[in-house]
Symmetry: C2
Subunit: 348 residues, 2 copies
Amino acid sequence: MATATIIGSGLMGSAMAWPLADNGFIVHLVGTPLDGAIIESCKKNRYHPSLKRTLPDKVIPFDFSQIDEAIKDAELVVCGVSSPGIDWIAEVLSHRIRAHQLVVGITKGLRVEKSGTIELFPDVIAKQFPESIRNRVVPAAIGGPCIAGELAARRHTCVMLGSRNLETAKTIASLLQTHYYHIQPTDDLTSLEIGVAMKNAFTVAVGMAYGSLTADEANMNVHNTAAALFAEGCTEIGALVRLAGGNERLSSALPGAGDLFVTSAGGRTMTLGKLLGQGIPYQEAERMLAGVTLESVQIIREMAKALAVWEADGRIGPRSFPLLRALIAVIVDGKKQSFPFNEFFRGV
Amino acid sequence: MATATIIGSGLMGSAMAWPLADNGFIVHLVGTPLDGAIIESCKKNRYHPSLKRTLPDKVIPFDFSQIDEAIKDAELVVCGVSSPGIDWIAEVLSHRIRAHQLVVGITKGLRVEKSGTIELFPDVIAKQFPESIRNRVVPAAIGGPCIAGELAARRHTCVMLGSRNLETAKTIASLLQTHYYHIQPTDDLTSLEIGVAMKNAFTVAVGMAYGSLTADEANMNVHNTAAALFAEGCTEIGALVRLAGGNERLSSALPGAGDLFVTSAGGRTMTLGKLLGQGIPYQEAERMLAGVTLESVQIIREMAKALAVWEADGRIGPRSFPLLRALIAVIVDGKKQSFPFNEFFRGV
């Protein structure tokens, strides 16, 4: 039987064990040095404490100290860390990946280089590979609306799997596809990664709307405002994808509207947005959420750098991306929340 | 002071009184023959029983018997009925509209002619006008994510206002725009009306996902499935707009993703979807919801006719619009819910 190795036993990394096990893989689930308690529980009674679920029979938990043994026979390696771990996993893989292995990541985020170029996480991983490997292993990425616990519950889930090499994307998709995990391969890695990263940023805005809710005589909510911010978020994802030369239709598909919908259903990004929407300054909200990984903040900070470069070199005008700029004002510049509603939807 | 007349005192029609009154209009709110109890309450103590809110001072309630008096001095006439009333209001206006008046509708829906052409509601109204008027009054339409009670609560709300005549759209938008009601004029009436109608259809699918939720050991929801259906809905709205020669970017903006988001937040369309998602056949769900206006059902039935004609004449292939076809199967053909997830997102 084939082996798949997942590195990182957090929610999303671990959830990938379900479709892999259902497809007949022996799954090596390797904890990072921060995952000690999870792996200990898994080894003790096969119970995953964050997913609150017993592991499938074919999943074998490994401590990080056992990684060399866990990875050596893997057909497929899943990079299952969250964004602060991206450099760490790139280093871990750099001298362990072999030319016949497939690599796919679930980490959401992006970096912006001094030139304003967006660097994608699969490329962060690839560039640490020795040259002999880099020419043969093209890391792929999975993205789209997927709450980890729902994947492990085998709920119908549709995602995209992107690689600069379409054949690689198709191959990995075929290994992961099940009757509940529906995977669309694409070679438009850039659009996929921009969409799934930026949805974290724009979910903060949706959360801000709900956080700003105040009592009203007729008990009305603020769905109208949230929907306007949601739509402008999708529109700005489309514009970013267009700037990157990708297929902007993705903004109304899985990596745009779909992923923004699922992230807006709840979780830490919405929590941050709601705190900010209540008028709490970012620095204070950050203290209140100490210890929580906020991909959204890292992404908004990176995009602040990108917009500055793009505007300076004339790629964009000063009134473009009004919602992203409003988020930058709150999170990077520490300003009070203020949405320029009349500036929205001008790109359409 | 200028006068605006709203015909139809249901939720959305009545809510339009708030921005109009805030902009200085004397607002004549005219009940339809079905709105007797609402107008009676409004006349008695200025309390709107469905909006659960006191009318602004500048709003004057009228019975339908007073319509001639109520409409004659209006600068702007708002058609505030829901879709079953569209022929009725077209007849009401046909011999009462004068050449200097502006007309805007809030009714969501569409019809499909035998030729497969989509007929828009503003055109249903216009074609009943005498020829002398038809050449001078171009009915406009408002659409986008707007829960009526939230507009009356003066929550920030972004909508589009479409007319085949852009100047008309701009003029009406300027009369309605307030500090909380943000209006984007467009001459792409077709795309706007397709988007805001079809969001009702696709919300049924989102509701079906949530209705299908069954107990799970880790208490997991079905947001992944709902998000996939949401995204495919946006994608199919984009494809319909493209077929109609419109700007498909709207599918990730207000009449697409935004309107689908707000409709999915709750209400009768979600209720229908949830019943169907529980496995209740459509005929039974219809009986359970007797008396509730289900625009979604009318729209799905009309689109069943459209797809049949378009497929017969080769405009579309047999596997296009897989989600819309799945909805037609349940609602028109009475079949059991079944979503072809692997057919989704092929147009992207």
